[in-house]
Symmetry: C2
């Protein structure tokens, strides 16, 4: 059996010397790939996530195409909430839509826990992937309590998170009860993935950047810590913690119990390295919109990310957010080549 702990990704996550900077892309398995659209044809998003054959195929696609240094499990952050029994679905072009938004203490008390058996198809897919991936590590993931809570409280995607913040600020006890329930669901989902063989986990708090540092500290950090420390207690796998627009929060997101901090494109990695505790590697952070520029510009910007990444203890190259649907896959392929060929190893 391959020892993935010596892979470039895991070495970088531990801040150890690497043969080259590892690279993967958030949402690398997704709509930008024609083979993805073919594999998903006729299947709903959450339905696909519970079909091990589809999950394996779609997760493998970018690994085959790009030669990235990691696969990331094809899934969705709301999947475990759905699997726990909450009535929600993902509507194409909209995102998650929740039938009965969660807004009262009674709503929170009625939230089910996640029975690991309900996500057994995910475990089966992970086991299949680990065999197929060989020397390439598989990253598992879950949505963080704040981001999950926002979907449940708003009833769907939201730009302002008004009802979520109103609950948070106005009924702190109910908020903490909700966030704790969601932390338990996220933790249970990650444990299933880890037990089935993922080598790294990433906690996505996509929308944490909408909070001030004080609010993050008071309302969110304790619950993200429940997830991250719960995984630490469960297994020895690196934990990456990522959100968008989190320039003010990078240190706090590390303090929540992360091994690696994902950074969006707004904060250069050399600056991000100063905002996290010494010894914490960073992940990122090419602007996903920059890959639409002509190649020489993309290359120049990627080199700048590599250079700045050397200021951190370790660097996992990635975009600063997910691959955009209209992205040209050939540009991502060239990016992988560039990162592998031109990594600046300190």
């Amino acid at each position: 059996m391959v020892d993935l702990r010596d892979s470039a990704l895991l070495r970088a996550c531990r801040g150890e010397p690497v043969p080259h900077t590892p690279v993967w892309f958030m949402r690398q398995a997704g709509r930008s790939l024609p083979e993805y659209r073919a594999a998903r044809a006729g299947l709903g998003m959450l339905e696909s996530c519970l079909r091990p054959d589809v999950v394996v195929e779609v997760t493998m696609q970018p690994v085959r195409r790009y030669g990235v240094d990691a696969a990331i499990l094809f899934s969705d952050i709301v999947l475990p909430v759905k699997a726990a029994g909450v009535d929600l679905d993902i509507e194409p072009g909209v995102g998650p839509v929740v039938a009965n938004p969660v807004r009262s203490a009674a709503d929170v008390a009625a939230l089910p826990q996640l029975d690991p058996a309900a996500v057994e198809p995910v475990a089966e897919a992970v086991r299949g992937l680990v065999g197929e991936l060989g020397a390439t590590p598989l990253i598992g993931f879950a949505g963080a309590p704040f981001t999950l809570a926002s979907y449940l409280v708003e009833g769907g995607p939201s730009r302002e998170h008004v009802r979520t913040k109103a609950l948070m600020y106005g009924d702190e006890q109910t908020w903490h009860a909700l966030a704790d329930r969601l932390a338990q669901i996220a933790l249970a989902f990650l444990r299933v993935q880890v037990d089935a063989g993922v080598s790294v986990v990433q906690l996505f708090d996509s929308w944490a950047g909408t909070l001030s540092a004080d609010d993050y500290t008071r309302y969110v950090l304790p619950h993200s810590r429940t997830v991250l420390e719960g995984i630490r207690a469960h297994a020895d796998v690196p934990r990456i913690h990522f959100g968008v627009g989190t320039g003010e929060l990078l240190g706090l997101m590390a303090a929540a119990g992360a091994d690696v901090i994902g950074v969006d494109w707004r904060v250069p990695l050399d600056e991000a390295a100063k905002r996290v505790p010494a010894g914490i590697p960073v992940q990122g952070n090419l602007d996903p919109a920059a890959v639409f520029a002509p190649w020489p510009v993309v290359a120049e910007r990627a080199r700048d990310v590599l250079r700045r990444g050397t200021a951190a203890t370790g660097h996992v190259f990635n975009l600063g957010h997910g691959v955009l649907p209209d992205t040209d896959p050939d540009v991502l392929a060239r990016l992988v080549e560039l990162v592998h060929a031109e990594s600046v190893t300190p």
Copy 2:
């Protein structure tokens, strides 16, 4: 004639002692007010902006209702672009939609300039307002070149600004030509407002926060400077500069030639005060979602904003972004009372 230079707002903008912290709200004239919805009934947004009677009525409404320390001209950032001759409209529930997006050097070369006569109804409204407002100053405004450019290039509102960034990164010369044209339009629009009597101007770069500091410096700052320095050369009115998610950009937005920096809710004002040059007042920054919490929470948070605001040379109380449509006007009224009664004057 009233000398508005001694008003609380203008004194705060110059960093001088104030009788109380001045307060106004971005988008105070808007959908949250029933009298606004009545005045706008049956009228398109841009049509309303060119009807002096409507502009005066709608601009006055929040002043009457709240007793805020400033009126802000009822208008829209795309109005001068439309008035210059670009085929665009504001679709309810969508935002600005541009018939022929601007994407090539030829498109940019074809962009018209703004003939001040085309916004004469705005000038007429400003003159009427100045008479009616008496001792309350009127704030004029314009959209900054980057935010305007994003509408023109994308063809409408955008979350990712992909085409805008692709143009910026991929064809720098065309980008700068476009941004300069829009700077000239914004400057011409502000000059008209200043000549008609506004006492303060605010440059809205709503989406600048989507850029890294390096990109902002290279692609955006020179053009926002054209507007802000153009106004400085034209008249002695304080210039406020605001964007959302601009924690990394506050110092640069000041360097572009602003007298006051608007801050969203993500960065506390005492921290913001450290990021702008000494002597620059700040404006903000209660989370617009926080006003949906119970009043004691709103009050506590407003007091915190006031306290932190004392760390700056001057403070204009505001929300961290525009009033949200479902906001309860009574809460804003109480906020104004609180700010006036409890201002902490240093």
